[in-house]
Amino acid sequence: MRKRFIVLWLTTVMSVCAAAADLQSAEELYRQGKFAAALGEYEELLNTYPKDSHLYYNIGNCYFKMGSTGLAVANYYRAFRLDPRDGDIRHNLALALENSGERLVPSGMPEILHKAFFSLQTDELKGLFFLSVWLFCILGALWLIKRKWGRAALAFFVMALALGVWYSWRTHLEQTPLAIVAAPVAELRSGPGTNFPASASVAQGHILVIQDTKDNWYDVIVKSQGLQGWVEADTVEKI
C-alpha cells in the first residue's frame, strides 16, 4: 500500500514538473514570436489537462497573434466558460470580439451587471444553490417541528429560488450550441449545400448560434446581425 502511494505520488510530481517545463518552453517560443510552435506545445498540454482555462487562454493568445481571430475568440470563450471571474480572460475575449464586430456585454446592459452575472463559475453557482436548498430544508423542518426559525427558512427559500433561476439561466447559456466563424469568410446559404445561393458572408470571429445540423452544414443565427442561414461546418469552430 505504501509503495503504491509512493509510486502514485512520484508519478504525479513528475507529470506536474513535465507540464511546468512544457509551459515554460511554450512561453519562450511565444516570446520569440514563434506562435505556431507555441500553439503546438499548448495543444499538446491540453490533451493532458482538457479543463484548464489558462491553457485555452494561452491558445487563444497564440491564434490572435497569428491573425486567426475566429479561433482566438473560440478559445477565449472556452476559457471564459471555465473561469468567468478572470480579468485577463475577460479582457482578451472582449478585445477579440470587438475586433470582429461583436460585443461581450450585450448593448444596453451595464458592464457591472454582466460581471456580477458571471461572477461565479457554473459549478460554484450550483454549489451555492444546493447550499441554500439544504439550509432551507433544515430551517423548514425546524419550523414544522418546533415552530422556530420561520423567517430564516422563508429567506433561504427565496434565496434558493433566485439562485435556481440564476443557475438555470447560466446553464441554458452554456448549453446553447455556439460556433465562431474560423475561416476568413463564411458564406450564409439558404440551404445545406453549395447548390443553394449565398445570401450573406460573415467575417471571422462572429458568434453564431447553431439551430440545426445536416451533414456537414449548420443552420445558424448571427444574432449581432439578425441573419439566419446555413454555413459549412468546416468554416466555423464549434465551442
Partner: protein, 609 residues
C-alpha cells in the same frame, strides 16, 4: 477617309490574325492506325498540325520500309484557330521493325518535329490456294461456298495476341462477302486493367448507302472508344476492306465479364453485279437490309493481389503513371488561402479510382478535396488523368513543408505494386498584416495626468495552469446525495406536522405532567407538575412571578384567555391549600390534581401557539 480606314483595317486584320496564331505556337503530332501489321495490310499515317495558318506541307522522312501510295489533306478553321490533317496510306515493303522517323514542318522561321514511330511488320501467312487478288470495289464475284474452302490460314505465331486473334477470326469468315468479328487483347485482365477490344466489319463487296453501326453491349466492363480506322486485308487471296473500332475496356469487379455482339446493318450489292445502272437503283430500293453480328467476347476479370498492397493504393492499374503537386503561390500571409493541386496522369483508366487522401498538414486548415477526372484517347491508347484540388490555409506565420504525397498503382506487366510520389513543397507564411493593423494606433487618446493611451492589445500569457482546482462551492455541487437527504428531512418534518398537530416538545411535556399529576398527593407536587408543563409548553417561568404576570405571559404565548382564567383559579386554590390551616391533603389534593390534569389537557388541545 472612312474608306481608307476600312482599307487599312482590312490589311491589318489578316496580319493581326496571323500574328495571333503565330504567338500561340503550333502543335504537330503524328500517329498510325496500328503499330503491328502483316505484309498484306496497309498502314495509315496521320499528321495533325494544330494552330498553323496558310499553306504548308509536312516533310516525310525517308521511308525505305514503306511505299506511300495515297495522300490526302484537310483543314478546319474555327475562330482563327486552324487544324490541318494530312493522311498517308502506306504499304509495307519488308517484314521486321520499321521506324517512321520524325516528320518535320518549317513554319514561321521555326522547325517542328514529331516523335519517331516504330511499327512491326510481320510476314503474311502463306495462302493454301493461289487465288489472284481482286479489287473489292470493282469485283462483283462472291467467293464460292464454304464447303469448297480449304482450311483457313493461321496467323504468324509472333503476332501480338489481338492482331493474331483478329487475323484468325477474319480467316475463318473469309468465305462471306460481309462479316464482323471482335477480339480482345487480354481475356484475363485484372480489375481496372485497360485492355483493347477491337471490332471489325469486313466487306468484300460495296454496300448501299450508310451502314449503321451499333457498339457492343458490355457487362461488368467499363468501355470507352479510343480509335476508328479503315483498312484492307487479303484473306485467302480475296481483298476485303474493313472498318475498325477500338475500345479501351476495363473490368469493374472480379469474375466473368462480356462484350456482347456489335452489329452493322447493311444493304448488300452482291445481286447487282450483272444489272444495269437503272436496274441497280430500282433493286436497291427493294433490297432487304441485312445485319452482320460480331462474335461475343468473354473475359474473366482477376482480383488484384492483396500481398504487398500499399496504403497509398487507390485502385489504379496500368503503367507509366506520373504524379505532380503544385501550389498557386509559395509565399502568403497567415490566414490566406493557397490552392493545392495534385495531378495524376497515365495510360489506362483511373477515373474509377478512389480519391487521394491528404495526410495531416500541421499548421494548415485543410478544406475538402475536389476531384475531376477524364480520359482521352491518344494514338489508340486510353490516357486518363485525375486532378485533386483543395484549399489550405496556414493558420500562423512560419515556414511549412507540404510533404511528398504517395500514390500507388498495380503494374499488370510486372504483377507488382509501384509507388510514385510528389515533390515536397515549401510554403512561407508571413505574419498577417491584418492582425498587426487590427488596432488603430493612430487614434491614441489623452487620458490626462500625463498618460496617453497608445492602443490596445491582448494581455500576456498565463505562466501557470489553473490546476482546475474546485473551490468549496464547486465541491458542494458534487454532493448531489445531500439534496436527497435534506429534502427527505423536510418531507419527514412535514409529514410529522401534518399527522399530529402538536409539536414533539408539547407532547412530551403533556405526558410528563400527566404522569406527575397521577402520583401527586401534595399541592407542591401539583404545582411542580404545572410549572414544568408551562415552562416546556409556553416557555413561561412561574417562579417568583405574581399570578397576574403569569396569566399575562401565558396569554402572550398563545394561551386562550379562558384557559388562563382557569389557571388563575386553580393556582389560587393551590396557594390557598398550601398556606391554609385546614389540612386539605388526601381527597382535596386529588381533586386539585384532577382539575390540573383537565386544565393541561384543555391547554394542549386548545392552546396551540
Amino acid at each position: 477617309m472612312f474608306k481608307r480606314i476600312i482599307l487599312l483595317l482590312s490589311l491589318l486584320l489578316p496580319i493581326a490574325a496571323h500574328a495571333a496564331l503565330d504567338l500561340t505556337g503550333i502543335d504537330m503530332t503524328a500517329s498510325v492506325n496500328k503499330t503491328s501489321l502483316t505484309m498484306d495490310d496497309e498502314l495509315v499515317l496521320t499528321v495533325t498540325v494544330d494552330g498553323a495558318a496558310g499553306d504548308f506541307m509536312p516533310q516525310l522522312p525517308s521511308l525505305p520500309s514503306f511505299n506511300v501510295y495515297a495522300r490526302s489533306a484537310s483543314k478546319q478553321i474555327n475562330n482563327f484557330h486552324a487544324i490541318s490533317t494530312f493522311e498517308y496510306i502506306m504499304l509495307p515493303r519488308f517484314p521486321g521493325k520499321a521506324v517512321i522517323g520524325p516528320i518535320t514542318l518549317n513554319y514561321g522561321n521555326k522547325t517542328y518535329k514529331t516523335d519517331p514511330i516504330t511499327v512491326t511488320v510481320y510476314r503474311a501467312p502463306s495462302t493454301p490456294t493461289k487465288t489472284p487478288a481482286k479489287k473489292a470495289a470493282s469485283s462483283a464475284k462472291a467467293p464460292s461456298a464454304a464447303n469448297t474452302r480449304k482450311a483457313p490460314a493461321q496467323a504468324p505465331a509472333n503476332l501480338p495476341p489481338l492482331e493474331r486473334d483478329l487475323y484468325n477470326l477474319a480467316a475463318q469468315n473469309g468465305d462471306k462477302d460481309y462479316f464482323m468479328i471482335a477480339a480482345v487483347s487480354d481475356k484475363t485482365p485484372y480489375i481496372n486493367q485497360t485492355v483493347t477490344l477491337a471490332v471489325r466489319f469486313y466487306y468484300a463487296l460495296p454496300f448501299v448507302g450508310n451502314a449503321p453501326y451499333n457498339a457492343p453491349t458490355v457487362s461488368n466492363l467499363f468501355m470507352e472508344e479510343v480509335s476508328s480506322s479503315e483498312g484492307r486485308q487479303n484473306i485467302d487471296g480475296r481483298i476485303y476492306n474493313y472498318i475498325e473500332r477500338r475500345y479501351a475496356v476495363s473490368g469493374v469487379t472480379n469474375g466473368p465479364a462480356q462484350a456482347g455482339n456489335a452489329s452493322v446493318r447493311y444493304i448488300s450489292t452482291s445481286r447487282f453485279s450483272n444489272l444495269s445502272v437503272l436496274d441497280r437503283m430500282v433493286a436497291a430500293v427493294s433490297q432487304e437490309e441485312q445485319t452482320a453480328l460480331s462474335n461475343t467476347v468473354n473475359l474473366s476479370i482477376r482480383a488484384l493481389p492483396q500481398q504487398g498492397k500499399p496504403k497509398s493504393f487507390y485502385g489504379a492499374v496500368g503503367d507509366k503513371f506520373t504524379i505532380s503537386a503544385s501550389v498557386d503561390r509559395n509565399k502568403v500571409e497567415a490566414g490566406e488561402a493557397i490552392n493545392l493541386t495534385v495531378k495524376v496522369n497515365g495510360s489506362g483508366n483511373i477515373k474509377p479510382t478512389t480519391d487521394l487522401k491528404l495526410p495531416q498538414l500541421p499548421g494548415f486548415k485543410v478544406y475538402d478535396v475536389a476531384t475531376t477526372s477524364g480520359a482521352v484517347p491518344s494514338n489508340g491508347i486510353l490516357k486518363s488523368y485525375k486532378i485533386f484540388k483543395t484549399v489550405i490555409v496556414p493558420v500562423s506565420s512560419g515556414k511549412y513543408t507540404i510533404p511528398s504525397l504517395d500514390w500507388s498503382y498495380f503494374n499488370p506487366g510486372t504483377k507488382q505494386y509501384n509507388t510514385i510520389r510528389t515533390q515536397a513543397i515549401t510554403i512561407e507564411a508571413t505574419p498577417s498584416s491584418k492582425t498587426d493593423t487590427g488596432f488603430d494606433f493612430g487614434a491614441h487618446s489623452d487620458l490626462g495626468n500625463g498618460f496617453r493611451q497608445l492602443g490596445q492589445d491582448i494581455r500576456y500569457l498565463k505562466s501557470d495552469m489553473d490546476g482546475a482546482k474546485l473551490t468549496f462551492l464547486a465541491q458542494l455541487s458534487t454532493w448531489t446525495w445531500a439534496n436527497y437527504l435534506f429534502i427527505s428531512l423536510l418531507a419527514l418534518a412535514g409529514i410529522f406536522a401534518l399527522m399530529d398537530k402538536q409539536t414533539l416538545a408539547g407532547r412530551r411535556a403533556l405526558a410528563k405532567a400527566r404522569a406527575q399529576l397521577k402520583t401527586a398527593y401534595t399541592e407542591e407536587a401539583i404545582v411542580e407538575a404545572l410549572t414544568t408543563y408551562l415552562q416546556v409548553r409556553y416557555k413561561v417561568h412561574t417562579a417568583s412571578l405574581p399570578l397576574r404576570d403569569i396569566s399575562t405571559a401565558l396569554q402572550k404565548h398563545g394561551c386562550p384567555a379562558e384557559l388562563a382564567k382557569r389557571f388563575e383559579t386553580l393556582w389560587q386554590r393551590l396557594d390557598a391549600a398550601r398556606f391554609a390551616p385546614v389540612d386539605l391533603q388526601g381527597e382535596g389534593a386529588m381533586e386539585l390534581a384532577r382539575q390540573a390534569t383537565d386544565l393541561i389537557k384543555a391547554m394542549d388541545k386548545g392552546g396551540r401557539r
